[in-house]
Amino acid sequence: MTDAAARPLPDGELAAYPDPSTWDDVVVHDAKDWPRRTERHFTLVPTTCFNCEANCGLVAWVDKASGEIVKLEGNPLHPASRGRNCAKGPATINQIKDTERILHPMRRIGKRGEGLWEQVSWDEALADIGGRIGRAFREGRHDEVLYHVGRPGDDSYVERVLHAWGIDGHNSHTNICSSGARLGYAAWMGFDRPSADFANARVIFLISSHLEAGHYFNPHAQRIMDGRQRGAKIVCIDPRLSNTGSIADWWLPAWPGTEPVLLLAIARLLLENGTWDREFVRRWVNWDTYLRAVHPDVEPVFDNVAPALLAEWADHTPERAAEVCGVDAGALHAIAEVIGANLGALATHNWRAAGAGNLGGWQTARCLWLLSVLTGSVGTVGGTSPNGWNKFIPVPPRHTEPQGRWNELTWAPEYPLAHHEMSFLLPHFLREGRGRVDTYFTRVYNPVWTNPDGFSWIEALTDEDLVGCHVALTPTWSETAWFADYVLPMGLGAERHDVASYETHSGRWIGFRQPVMRRYAELVGAPVESTREANPGEVWEENEFWIALSWHIDPEGDLGIRRHFESLDRPNEPMGIDEYYEHLFAHSIPGLRDAADAEGQTPLEYMRRRGAFAIPGDQYQVHERVLTDDELTRTVRGDDGVYRAPGTAGLHGSLDEIDGHMPFIGDGSAGVDIDGTPRLGFPTPSRKLELYSETLADWGWPEHATPGWIRSHVHWEDLDLAGAERILVPTFRIPTLIHTRSGNAKWLNEISHRHPLWLHPRDAERLGIEVGGLARVTTRIGHFVIATWRTEGIRPGVVACSHHMGRWRLEGDRGNERWSSGVVGLDNDDHRWQLTPREGTRPFASDDPDSGRIWWTDAGVHQNLTFPVQPDPISGMHCWLQRVTITPAEPGDRHGDVHVDTERSADAYREWLALTRPGPGPGGLRRPLWFARPVKPKATAYRAAT
């Protein structure tokens, strides 16, 4: 059942890869000189891809004659990607060789956003930035230092840095990505992500387009198709025909936001048909809590659970669901039948999609997980596990004490249950006077472009009173970097160190990203001191940068920061990167040391040679593990059967009793009594799967404590569909691109560079939009103008426009790469903003002759600018779907025009803010202690300010 790490050799004599034992010197004929047999010698260095979150293995082919990387193939030793990649993996070479990339640290001259830069040395940049952060810390302004991350690509490094700095300064992109699904999952099981065992499933139920854009696109696609080859049926819910939908056995284009209704109807059918796993539910679900809370008139015995649920979901018959969702009731019956016939082998997944689109979208994930629970498909072979079972986060060397602060600029009191930081509201928080930012790091993050309401971001970033210094850590120019004070070039996938682990399948692995040229220098006997000596230009990597910066923040060590960054064996010297990973791999990864020993290598050398490691052991049914006596000592068994330990979040008198790091998820309890046996269970307060979430109830949302449906802000019955109102799906991704990080990959842009508005021909006729004509799409805060594309692959009433395109720059030859971006004009009259396209993509002269061969012209439309912030009041998720009015373009409208009024943005923000039920919650807490939280602070920081 486990995945073989290396891909089996195909039949015949052809191998997928040179034998890893030969990787130091692989001889292959030169492709261009062929059919002459001109030998070329390569050294193969493994690393991991930095494009999407999957972190697939790559192997860089370094030409020994030129000492340059010539291409990147897959890494057959990587347990998740198994030597295979999507288009973005091999396209990494475009990014490395991009003639438009930033090669030196830059500092702005002139006004912020004016676009004038000077090259500075790293030392100057470190001294200046480190100095101002040090001053902020000395003056007690810890909350004014923020690190805002897009693609992390690493699991623990920066967390350690922020704990060491003693600040609550982490700001993730999660709330514009996955918060919805996270809350839905967390409310059930503590863990906030699913890990589906697609390869062994009998039914695969997807609410996302996993075969082109899922969170772990390539590893998941491999296994979904493996499962399908073995006979699994695929269900895909998506209002537009994705590539996934086109392959599914059932593509159900439900009305956006009605997905929970569809799922509850299937749940009902399972209960009615008696095709559900009674025993699993009896043992592992907190049904008694549910009955007591929701049906106090009913005796709390298990036999009453199914009738109670059927009564609760009485409205959700398949026939009614078919009406609300706009799908065929027969399909729901058929799907329920196939699910019911394959109990235990239902693999489900929701990551973004509906969960990220709708008000109450988090209930989509909660209702989807309900199907996994009812069918007993939790942690089974072919089922779905909590992600935490298939992910491994190592403890870093010099593990510090948790930071003790709570930053309300990111963890706002209105959103105590958010997963996680309210990152996209930052401009509004700043405008409201909730605080200011002294030093703001954007790291591989482009909020001006990616976040909703980008003009509010520009307003905030250009206001030096609100943001004192903006440091963009990025491999490429971006719309956001333009508004920075420092643009510091950081390495791409093959130019940096990271350790990451993801729940791509059943099993645990860690992947090691390494700077290829640095490793190559080491292999040829010319090691370098710093990654930036081996990378192109002065491109560095964050991990070394953070050590150096920390040193500049606290040069004398009196702030207590420097000591966390000192060498383990060279006192008073900064820690080296090799030392860091040597220690991490030697001490924190189960089984790695033995595996390295068997090869006669140090753990670090082993990882440098292989790039990934599969942690031994089976990860199914982890919840069933019987607790050891050791684990039970010092625990107290509660009336609910939970074994809690004093001094943890689960059992304490005051918060001061809770020492050190709290668990990332869970309250620190050991397990739960199941039929007389103490078992590990799930990291929820009940240690069971929570059909009824007391946390949701206690924190102000009792009506949503069980899986149910919350009417979306774009619910179709509330729209004037007979008129010009439609639902806009603005987020769908395509298999070749990744947010704004792939604009520098010429081969990817050649394949995909336009994103017309999909609309059904019937809608086009009704709306009076000609074939290929321009549409004006009006949102709550403005409008954009875009070319249209008629397709049968979308639900009438819904229009869709892919993410990725619409990249821009303000100057002809700088500010953004020219492979994907167009030149625009940016004008504002106070709060009225206008973006006007001036020139599309064009051929340009560079050292790469291909830049003169750019044949596409459409740079797309920056639609996100016109979206108001729409934070879900519970999950904090930005609800991406837009209620829009679609009209034919007006005279003078041009493809790419954008108009926005940020006063209306502020109005929208306040309206959505008013939907919240602010904390503090029970016990005067800012957030449930057991909920996951990045850079989780000391328990005492959870005490709300009085």
Binding site: P10, D11, G12, E13, L14, A15, A16, Y17, P18, V27, V28, D30, A31, W34, P35, K71, R84, N85, C86, A87, K88, P90, A91, L211, E212, N218, A221, M225, Q229, L241, N243, T244, S246, I247, W251, V327, P735, T736, K746, W747, L748, E750, S752, H753, R754, G772, W789, R790, T791, E792, G793, P796, S802, P849, R853, I854, W855, W856, T857, D858
Partner: protein, 504 residues
Amino acid sequence: MARLGFLIDQDTCIGCHACTVACKAEHEVPLGVNRTWVKYIETGTFPNATRQFSVLRCNHCEDAPCVEICPTSALFHRDNGIVDFDTRSCIGCKSCMNACPYDALYLDPETLTAQKCNFCAHRVDVGLEPSCVVVCPTQSIVAGDLNDPTSRIARMVARHDVAVRAPEQGTRPKLFYKGADQASLDPTRTAIAADGMIWAEATAGHPTPPVPDPEHQVARTAYTTAHPAPWGWRVSTYLVTKAIGAGAMLVAALLVLLGHAGAQASVGVLAPLIAGAFTALTGVLLVTDLKQPGRFHFILTRPNWGSWLTRGAVILAGFAALTAAWFVAGLLDASSAIEVLAAPTALLAAATAGYTAYLFAQCEGRDLWQTPLLLPMLLTQAATAGAAAFTLADVFVTVPGPDAVRWALLGGVLGTGGLIAVELSARGTRHVELAVAAMTRGPFAGRFRLAVVAGVVVPAVLMILALAGVAPTGLAAVAGLVAVAGLAAYEDAFVRAGQSVPLS
């Protein structure tokens, strides 16, 4: 002996384009061209709409038309069945691009030579799979030995219902498709809609049927890559100049046959002068159409004698030599030598005019050009063009037996007209029908109408009048001019329409 082939499993392909990019990386393929690409088509109506993918590339045909037509053997079969190429030998004639029925070849903008998927022969040689096979997330591309019954590919081909592209071309492809929608393999059944493709711009070079054909087009092309027509005005003009050159000597030979070998000015000197000039012009057009004109001599130094491009070059050279000899004889007023030269010259003139029929027949991708009427058409066109040259010459020098020339012109245009009529009324393949539609009511209809009016109707009427004695010299000269203009329009319509039918 291994016989390598591909199988693409469209049942598991997810249309991710990884193969496209891995190939670009392996071969540093420039922007604008592709060795392998993924086509998307969409069929059905909501909510039963669906999207199908097909991975398209060289089929490594057992009977590879590209290998056959390549004049310099730059394209060749390896022993293991791979259709490989050597850019060093390629002269950039692009004939392979018209020979291939699959749009597999492109002109590389860096090397200015034809390139395509070569099965990563340089990798295979050291025991590695092609890069597209390695990268594929779902292992949907299978490469292996079709001759080894235990290989995965041989087992899959044996076990499953597999399809090949354009089997009617008889090329015996070694690229098999499992689970592919037939429409995704038949480019005449899908079209790019007016509002373009799903996420790439559609240029004039993106393949789509030249005329709307709702009856046959069952799907929309949502994504594909550009494959612009390889041959343009130079090739259509070459057909005209060659017809004039060859025709001039054909008519001259006719005049010799009629006993006018002694007409020094017109038959002895002017005819070979015209023929020589237009043959030289033909040569210039041919050489300048090469993307590697400096390598034109490879046709003779690295010849593929099976290629009609090579054979044509020899015929042209022979014809030029005889024409030159005729010219010398004419200058010397050696009418007896001209009498001796007449028959072989006529023969080579006919070959010069007609060999293109065999060359075009080798363009297996262009069904319109496969017509058996092409040879007679080229001959009647040569007669027309040659006679036209003489009717014009008649204005300046005395042409003996002017009526014979006029009859030749009338015969030529009527013959051409008749052949066009037969051609249009004949039923052909879908490709032929689409190409004919492109000529008669599609993008080349204007040129085609001009071809009929100027190439047939007007000169025929004028010649009848001329033969009836109405200002015969003047009218015949005008008719000749108009006929040549019509001929040029026809050739251009024919060359372009033949290439307008999508192959991918």
